[in-house]
């Protein structure tokens, strides 16, 4: 451990923001280079290495670009900056926690986890309403309240009062936030929708069931004592009947002035909208309402809002899924005292691009620098290859589409099996274990696996089995569901219609404006890599195994930690909430028969009387098939072998024969003896039942190590360096 102090640095083979620097660009031309210099490595780390999700957001600033397309009269969104559109016409929408859709998704995840509810029990619709204009307006109301409160205070204070200046600072900040929307028609849309609704239906949106216009009245007792609500005498305006005062007039003036100053092309309609939004009380100078125009506006705004939100979600969803994956990678590492914190190096380049012949030398040179040196600080141990294409064989050929069915998804953000094989071939030379998961779709979720089993996935992984790189390929299944496809509907609002009673919200089913998110998922590879990376940290293991009274040696990484052994999976589990009730015995038998893949389980389990509501790891295998045992090999064997080879190379000064002998000698100071002394620990390198032997073939100068894990041997050959020893 004093030598190798990290065994969990992970390379993510995916793009987050194509506008930011990527691994290929940073590595640059490698002609004639064996490795990169330290300055270059520092630069790469500066741009691509992240130690937390916040750092990812900061370094990669994920963004969606929006622009208006006059031809189709709609808003378009794109992840890649369109080169043909002038900068001034592009609006970048940062995809961070303050973005409305991401907020909604995170809320879903947090509340589901807090409630410990399974997918079937959780009310997704409720949380997802967050993206409707109604909820947007709610947030603005909060801002509005603050502005009013602070402005009131501000106007009451005397000139020259230092407190007035403090208030001024606060107001400046609030106005700054509010003014961001002035220029942005899209951001103004929900305001306009709600504004019209408020004016026509007297805040119907705020009251449950209020769908028609209200006529203000006065409660009185009739001649015969009956209760009556009499229509109040009409005023000139239809503005809300609220008390006006000087404060509001002042505030209105300030907002109006601010809008004029900030906006390049001020427009009366938007000006009034802004004023009404941030200062909506009776003081608005509305003289008359053309109900029909307003209703038409409302309907077209709502339609436009729905279409653009729908377009936005379609574009942002894949990016968001990636970001959620990264978030979950880091989230797996939850421990009180931090030790070996997982690090993620984001290549920020499509793996398809990386796998091209022309680009592979760059990757090779980079890995040569990180993994072929005796400096283990930057060694890459794992890689994540998400979104492997799920090419579906069409079995039911349909002659005529009688009903509207699913459009065949031609995803551009899925990556091919071929590119994965090419990259694995390179990564195996540097002993990088690669977690891969199939693309996010209903067929790869817990639901589908529970229903259909893993046969399909085994078949799809067949091209990667029986290859020299199979040992380094870890298929992860299933993917996690954040919002299931069938519960992804969001009701935005209903259309309005003009009737004899004036404007009212339509009750008709077709007038309810809904949009469908069509499911949000997280690739299993992120979670598996994050969890495995977390398990490398001795502090993490200690936290989770104290309950089981297991010993942990804080100087050793968790390379030999076998999640499948004993109750380990019930003591260390993921942070993901349970999704389904579990797999059937039949499917579990199928998984156990071949011991295939890195499989997560959403099973009912309890340990020591405590129910486990999280998802656990059921299997942790790679694609190296052991025909003797008819099963795939556990992942820890590969990492222990890698770890021992690296330590051995270091300790023996690049495999000097005498030093190898010392390494395995019975001297209590030898590396082997020191490992054996810790064999009772949960993170021991050699545990009870394991053994490590070596034999040197003098003729060929090869030292063969035989590492037996509970009797099943693994061989490792190293070429002895005899330059000084003989």
């Amino acid at each position: 451990m004093e030598i190798i102090n990290q065994t969990n640095r992970t390379l993510l083979l995916d793009v987050i923001n194509p506008q930011q620097l990527d691994l290929l660009t940073l590595v640059g031309d490698v002609k004639g280079l064996d490795s990169l210099d330290d300055d270059k490595m520092k630069e790469i780390n500066q741009y691509l290495e992240c130690r937390s999700y916040e750092e990812v957001e900061r370094k990669f600033a994920p963004v969606v670009y929006s622009f208006f397309d006059a031809a189709s009269q709609s808003v378009k969104y794109t992840l890649e900056k369109p080169e043909t559109i002038p900068e001034a016409m592009l609006t970048p929408i940062p995809v961070n926690e303050s973005e409305n859709f991401q907020q909604a998704i995170l809320s879903v995840m947090r509340s589901r986890k807090a409630q410990g509810l399974m997918n079937v029990e959780f009310k997704f619709e409720k949380v997802l309403e967050m993206i409707s204009p109604k909820k947007v307006m709610e947030d603005i109301r909060q801002v509005r309240k603050e502005i009013q409160y602070n402005y009131k205070k501000f106007s009451e204070l005397e000139e020259g009062d230092p407190q007035k200046l403090d208030m001024g600072d606060k107001l400046n900040l609030l106005f700054e936030d509010a003014s961001r929307n002035y220029n942005n028609v899209m951001a103004m849309l929900p305001l306009a929708i709600e504004d019209i609704k408020t004016r026509l239906l007297l805040g119907a949106g705020e009251q449950q069931g209020g769908k028609a216009a209200v006529v203000p009245g006065i409660l009185s007792l009739g001649e015969s004592g009956e209760l009556k609500v009499l229509e109040a005498p009409k005023t000139d305006t239809t503005a809300l009947a609220t008390l006006d005062d000087n404060v509001n007039t002042g505030l209105m003036e300030v907002i109006r002035e601010d809008y004029q100053a900030v906006n390049d092309n001020p427009n009366d309609y938007v000006q009034n909208l802004v004023v009404r939004t941030f200062c909506p009380l009776a003081s608005t100078q509305q003289s008359s309402i053309d109900v029909e125009t307003e209703v038409a506006n409302y309907n077209s705004y709502l339609e436009f809002y729905r279409t653009s939100k729908d377009n936005f979600i379609k574009v942002v969803k894949p990016l968001l899924e990636r970001l959620l994956g990264i978030r979950m990678f880091f989230e797996q590492y939850q421990t009180k005292s931090k030790g070996m914190k997982p690090t993620l190096l984001i290549a920020n380049i499509s793996p398809e691009m990386l796998a091209k012949s022309a680009n592979l030398p760059r990757l090779i040179t980079y890995l040569n620098t990180t993994n072929s040196k005796n400096n283990f600080k930057e060694t890459i141990w794992y890689a994540i290859y998400p979104n492997v294409a799920w090419s579906q064989n069409v079995t039911n050929k349909i002659q005529r589409e009688r009903f509207k069915g699913n459009v065949k998804k031609v995803s551009t953000d899925v990556y091919s099996m071929e590119a994965l094989a090419t990259l694995l071939d390179v990564l195996k030379d540097y002993r990088v274990e690669t977690f891969f998961s199939f693309e996010n779709r209903e067929e790869t979720t817990f639901n589908a696996i529970a229903a259909e089993g893993i046969e399909k996935i085994i078949d799809k992984c067949a091209p990667l089995s029986g290859k020299p790189f199979s040992e380094f390929a870890i298929p992860v299944l299933p993917n996690f569901t954040v919002i299931p496809k069938n519960k992804s509907g969001v009701t935005l609002d209903s259309r309005m219609k003009v009737s004899d009673r004036g404007a009212e919200l339509s009750d008709a089913k077709e007038d309810v404006m809904r949009l469908w998110i069509e499911g949000v998922y997280i690739g299993g590879a992120y979670v598996a890599a994050g969890f495995r990376a977390a398990c490398q940290c001795p502090e993490f293991l200690k936290d989770h195994f104290t309950r089981a009274r297991a010993l942990t040696y804080l100087e050793l990484p968790g390379v030999r930690f076998d999640i499948e052994a004993g109750n380990n999976s019930l003591l260390a589990y993921t942070t993901m909430p349970k999704e389904i009730t579990g797999f059937t015995n039949n499917i579990k038998a199928q998984i156990n028969q071949k011991n295939f893949g890195w499989v997560f389980a959403s099973e009912n389990a309890s340990l020591g009387g405590e129910n486990i509501t999280n998802i656990t790891v059921y299997k942790a295998r790679n694609l190296l098939y052991d025909p003797d045992n008819s099963s795939y090999e556990p992942v820890y064997k590969t990492q222990v072998t890698t770890y021992i080879e690296r330590i051995l190379r270091y300790v023996t000064s690049d495999f000097k024969e005498d030093n190898i002998k010392n390494f395995f000698s019975n001297n209590p100071q030898s590396q082997k003896s020191r490992w054996l002394a810790k064999k009772d620990c949960i993170n021991a390198i050699i545990t009870e039942g394991d053994s490590i032997e070596y034999s040197i073939d003098d003729a060929s100068g090869v030292c063969e190590l035989t590492i037996s894990f509970n009797g099943s041997p693994r061989n490792l050959e190293v070429q002895i360096n005899r330059l000084t020893s003989r």
């Binding site: 002609k31 064996d34 012949s357 022309a358 592979l360 090779i364 040569n368 072929s372 090419t422």
Partner: protein
């Protein structure tokens, strides 16, 4: 080292085998004195059209500039002369050598473009001058815009006639005429000056633009005059100071000329080197640095050259190196005597006869092993061309009209020749197969001793044998001991040199790799990544297992690509070879003009290097477009 050892082995074998069948005796070690360059290898006459039409074809007077460039780049011993023609002959300079050659560019520079073009008079004068020169090669380089034109038709016809006659005379004299045709030339075949080139077996180079003269001269210099030069850098000037570092492989070179030619003038030239003396000459489009005897050439540092210059933005500057050696052949003869297999006359008559047509009966069959090594005239102990760069370089040796091409190994060539009697032979050496320019002796006289008589059969004269054999044995033993001593000294010296070379980082690996390459087996595989192809195709990564190849064999990169199913041709791939080395290394030999890089170092042409597991190399092929990276994996 191997050769020295084998010499010793022959000697020792001789001592023992003398009693039985064979005997071998080292006889003479001779070294000739360097020959004075009185008989130059080459005389070049420049004939320049100075008519007024040249003002249009060569407005910037690049032709005189080009002549100057060529004169300075000619090998030291060559002579150069000059004739200009317009209506008459405004300037001429008889061929001169050495420093005096400066007169040629000076004369060319002074010529003004005016009047008509009497090419007949110009060429006649040039041929006349050359006819009086005694040299192995006599050549004329004629620069003209192509047409013979005088003030009257009669005069034109007269000039044409004398032009044809002069060309005919040149052809008879063995003088070759190369024509650089400026401008668009003429369609009138009769008036064209290029006919002379065809008649004399010369070359016609078209230079549609005056700026193409340089290229034309360059091709004549390399391909016709046979000057060896190599390009060390092609720099696309960015307007600022450009620096070129070159590691010259020319140990013990007498002169190294560095020639910078550009499409626009080169300025602020400065060079960093260690040499006995140096000279810099600059023209409109060229700059030349002549370095005499680089200091510390036997060390890597001594052969380092750093040049910096500023070129006009957008122009391309070519940096060429022209190495010149002065060599004195050193000859060593070792005889190998064998008793004729069947002493009966019928059989011996069937053996190849000597000059008299008869192999003498009663004598040994003697083969002379003539080893040529080459020393530096300034320090005869210094042997040339022992480095790997010269390995396998060809030197032609002509004896009695019989030409044999021999390969250099460790700086030596060995010629085997049967000896039937004592004689003196004249060996002519041709160094044109070497990658460098060589001056010095090309003829060596070697005295060969005839074969000794066969001993008399024991059963016939036992007493004689008893008396003669010990004496003969002793004599042979003494001679063998002397030879052994010479050999031992050579071996010793060579070992010392190699050790010194190894200490100075002088390719110890290559020597070690090359020595016993045949006994190693291939290991591992090659992962190939074609990063750029001429066709623009994207090739998936390729892998080729070397294990299946037979022991000690050699395979080219081209062949590997073909076996991997790549049909596209990568120029130069067929001349990059792989063979197994010790410790499971892979020896890569670059015999191509491709740029082969390993760890930021270029593997020069005709050099080898060892690649260990996980080692990688990058190749930019000869087309300067296609590129490939390969990694040697376990």
């Amino acid at each position: 080292m191997k050769k020295g050892n084998s010499g010793c082995l022959f000697l020792l074998a001789g001592i023992f085998l003398a009693v039985f069948l064979k005997c071998s005796v080292p006889v003479c070690v001779c070294a000739a004195e360097p020959q004075d360059a009185e008989n130059p290898q080459c005389v070049v006459m420049f004939v320049l059209d100075a008519s007024s039409s040249m003002k249009t074809s060569d407005p910037d007077r690049l032709a005189p500039d080009g002549i100057a460039q060529l004169v300075y780049t000619l090998p030291t011993g060559s002579r150069a002369g000059f004739v200009a023609f317009n209506t008459g002959i405004p300037a001429e300079q008889i061929p001169v050598s050495g420093k005096e050659r400066e007169a040629v560019p000076e004369a060319a520079e002074e010529v003004e473009y005016t009047g008509y073009s009497d090419a007949g008079a110009g060429l006649s004068r040039a041929v006349e001058i050359l006819a009086g020169e005694d040299a192995a090669e006599r050549q004329i380089v004629l620069l003209s815009d192509g047409e013979i034109l005088m003030d009257s038709d009669e005069a034109t016809a007269e000039s044409r006639k004398s032009y044809r006659e002069a060309a005919g005379e040149a052809a008879e004299e063995g003088i070759r005429i190369h024509v650089i045709s400026l401008g668009t030339g003429t369609e009138d075949e009769e008036s064209s000056v290029s006919a002379a080139a065809e008649l004399t077996g010369g070359r016609v180079c078209a230079a549609p633009q005056a700026t193409d003269i340089q290229e034309a001269l360059d091709s004549i210099l390399t391909e016709e005059i046979g000057v060896k030069q190599s390009t060390v850098a092609l720099v696309d000037a960015g307007g600022g100071i450009e620096t070129v570092h070159a590691q010259l492989p020319y140990t013990y070179a007498d002169k190294v000329r560095v020639l910078l030619t550009g499409t626009a003038p080169v300025e602020n030239l400065s060079a960093n080197f260690q040499a006995q003396s140096a000279e810099q000459i600059s023209g409109e489009r060229y700059s030349l640095i002549e370095l005499n005897r680089l200091h510390g050439q036997d060390t890597e540092n001594g052969r380092k050259l750093e040049i910096s210059f500023s070129g006009t933005k957008g122009s391309r500057v070519r940096v060429n190196v022209i190495p010149e050696y002065c060599a004195v052949p050193v000859v060593e003869v070792v005889y190998r005597d064998e008793r004729p297999a069947e002493p009966d006359t019928a059989k011996s008559a069937a053996l190849p006869p000597d000059k008299t047509g008869q192999e003498l009966p009663g004598v040994y069959r003697r083969t002379a092993e003539i080893t040529f090594s080459f020393s530096d005239p300034e320090n005869q102990r210094t042997l040339l061309w022992e480095e790997a760069f010269f390995e396998n370089g060809r030197i032609k040796v002509t004896v009695d009209g019989e030409e044999t091409a021999l390969s250099l190994h460790g700086g030596r060539i060995v010629l085997e020749r049967p000896v039937y009697r004592t004689e003196e032979i004249l060996a002519e050496l041709d160094y044109s197969g070497l990658p460098v320019n060589v001056r010095g002796d090309r003829e060596v006289r070697i005295g060969l001793e005839g074969p000794p008589e066969l001993p008399v059969e024991e059963e016939e004269e036992p007493s004689y044998i008893r008396a003669v054999f010990p004496a003969a044995g002793l004599g042979l033993l003494a001679a063998a001991a002397a030879g052994a001593a010479v050999c031992y000294m050579r071996v010793l010296r060579r070992r010392q040199e190699e050790r010194a070379g190894a200490e100075a980082g002088n390719q110890p690996k290559e020597a070690a790799c090359g020595a016993e390459k045949d006994s190693f087996r291939f290991a591992g595989r090659l992962n190939l990544y074609i990063t750029q192809a001429q066709s623009g195709d994207d090739y998936p990564p390729l892998s080729y297992s070397l294990l299946r190849l037979p022991e000690g064999s050699m395979i080219s990169l081209g062949e590997i690509l073909e076996r991997c199913g790549v049909t596209e041709r990568f120029p130069g791939a067929e001349a990059v070879f792989f063979q197994p080395g010790n410790d499971r290394s892979l020896i890569v030999t670059n015999n191509s003009d491709s740029t082969v890089m390993k760890n930021r170092e270029i593997l020069m042409k005709n050099r080898q290097c060892a690649l260990l597991f996980d080692g990688k190399m990058d190749i930019t092929f000869e087309d300067e477009v296609s590129e490939l990276m390969f990694q040697y994996k376990e």
